[in-house]
């Protein structure tokens, strides 16, 4: 799980153009949206594509993103549970 979390952090930085951040700057349990990294609904859509492209997981209802993208950890857990 830790390896996946680290990998995800790198992927998130790349996908969302968070140029000034390094993986170590992202707290695995911190909120991605609202506070935390200050991401918004457009980023949520970007992350849905990340799941599909990198992990073959399709999220068809954007509202599901709220739960999945609470933190990098919840995202990693979702990937482990749903990866094909």
């Amino acid at each position: 799980m830790d390896a996946l979390i680290e990998q995800l952090k790198g992927e998130i930085i790349k996908q969302l153009n968070l140029e000034d951040l390094k993986p170590a700057d992202i707290d695995s349990d911190a909120a991605l949206f609202g506070g935390g990294l200050g991401l918004d609904s457009i980023d949520a859509l970007e992350l849905i594509v990340l799941l599909e492209k990198n992990y073959g997981i399709k999220v068809s209802n954007p509202a599901d993103g709220k739960k999945i993208f609470q933190s990098v950890r919840t995202m990693a857990e979702y990937i482990s549970a749903n990866k094909k």
């Binding site: 918004d40 609904s41 457009i42 859509l45 849905i48 594509v49 068809s60 954007p62």
Partner: protein, 401 residues
């Protein structure tokens, strides 16, 4: 200077008809134009019902009276066909008789051709007559194509404020007449279906995989459409002795300044646009007999727009419907097409139904009209159009006495 702005002509083409009469017939008989994608190649075809114009580009060329070897875009052709009808219906024989302009709206411009040829453009080793399409990419090119074919030279402009574009074209045209800069102006918009738009809206996850259900609590998103709609605005002087379909009595433009794509939950921008339109027209919300809503069928738009309407009408909302379930969302053209629907509502004292509506939204005080309503006098119609980037516009059309 003209204090009044008269509408003397209308022309349109969309999924529900190739002209105003056909479209009116579809509206009256509750025939939607939404169906399977046919003229644009896309892998999303099974998932994305659309409102396409039921003509191939070659057939459109013929309808417009052009040689098939003309190298132009579908956006330009749709625009020309609708603008030709508008000019003809206004009884304009000599376009140069008055200072005449055209203000057209488009969001994709010539993207329908660019997306087919982009890689070839970049490949120096390939060459062909299609290189001519490079110049058709710019939004302004479709306007110049229409103007050149109609012989309009006095004033040309093009507007792109996403899905509110044509409302802004109408507004700008009306102001040019009021300022005495033009006597007559053809205003509206045109947008063709493209893979670019289909894929763009797919990424936003706001396309319904079934027919859209504006203002329904179970709405899932919008259906894209294509088409063009233009009206002819004339000053008091130019319109003298002519049949006047309606007046453009009010207009308002605002920005929601809330989010790049989404409307604010309380519809603050929409509220301001409507408020300004009322101010210009001197009318009160209670004077409105019918609202042709933007009503795209997305979760956010319908809630935001509905909330703003509830607020400005203090929950005494008149007959209201979205006609997007007929035509699909024709983006930059929609306010041109819906201006015509608004004028038809006044001319025929009719309210067009909001198709596919079953479940009321608890957040709103009103339910849209779901059957064809006849017999009620329609003197004033409010037409809303909102777009990405927070652009919100409202128009008011009124009966001419």
């Amino acid at each position: 200077m003209s204090s009044k702005v008269y509408i003397t002509g209308m022309g349109m083409i969309s999924a529900i008809g190739n002209n105003v009469a056909e479209s009116f017939h579809s509206l009256e008989t509750m025939q939607s134009g939404i169906g399977e994608l046919k003229y644009v190649r896309s892998r999303h075809k099974p998932l994305v019902p659309v409102g396409e114009v039921k003509k191939s580009t070659e057939e459109l060329m013929e309808m417009a009276g052009l040689n098939p070897d003309n190298l132009t875009t579908r956006t330009s052709l749709l625009g020309l066909i609708a603008a030709q009808e508008a000019v003809k219906s206004a009884g304009i024989k000599d376009i140069k008789e008055y200072r005449t302009g055209i203000i057209s709206a488009t969001s994709v411009g010539g993207m329908d051709m660019t997306e087919n040829h982009w890689l070839d453009y970049l490949n120096e080793e390939k060459s062909g007559p299609w290189l001519k399409y490079i110049e058709t990419h710019e939004c302004g090119d479709s306007t110049e194509f229409i103007a050149d074919n109609l012989g309009i030279k006095d004033f040309l402009s093009t507007i792109s404020t996403a899905c509110s574009s044509a409302a802004n074209a109408i507004m700008f045209g009306a102001r040019l007449i009021k300022h005495g800069k033009l006597d007559r102006v053809i205003v509206g918009g045109t947008d063709a279906m493209s893979r670019f738009t289909i894929n763009g809206f797919m990424t936003l996850m706001i396309l319904d995989s079934e027919n859209c259900k504006p203002f329904d609590s179970q709405r899932r998103g919008l259906n894209l459409g294509e088409g063009a709609g233009y009206i002819v605005l004339e000053s008091e002087k130019a319109a003298k002795g002519k049949v006047i379909h309606a007046e453009l009595s009010g207009y308002g433009n605002s920005n929601d300044a809330y989010h790049q794509t989404a409307s604010s939950p309380d519809g603050a921008g929409a509220f301001m646009a409507m408020e300004k339109a009322f101010k210009i027209s001197g009318l009160k919300p209670s004077d409105i007999d019918y609202i042709n809503a933007h009503g795209t069928g997305t979760e956010i738009n319908d809630l935001s727009e509905g909330t703003a309407i509830d607020r400005i009408f203090e929950k005494n909302v008149p007959s209201i419907s979205s006609t997007k379930a007929y035509t699909g969302h024709t983006l930059a053209a929609c306010a041109g097409i819906e201006a015509i629907f608004s004028i038809l509502a006044i001319k025929h004292n009719i309210v067009f139904p909001n198709l596919n509506y079953k479940h009321p939204m608890t957040a709103l005080s009103f339910k849209p009209t779901t059957t064809l309503e006849r017999g009620k006098k329609i003197d004033h119609v409010l037409s809303n159009s909102f777009g990405f980037g927070g652009n919100t516009s409202a128009l008011i059309f009124s009966r001419h006495h």
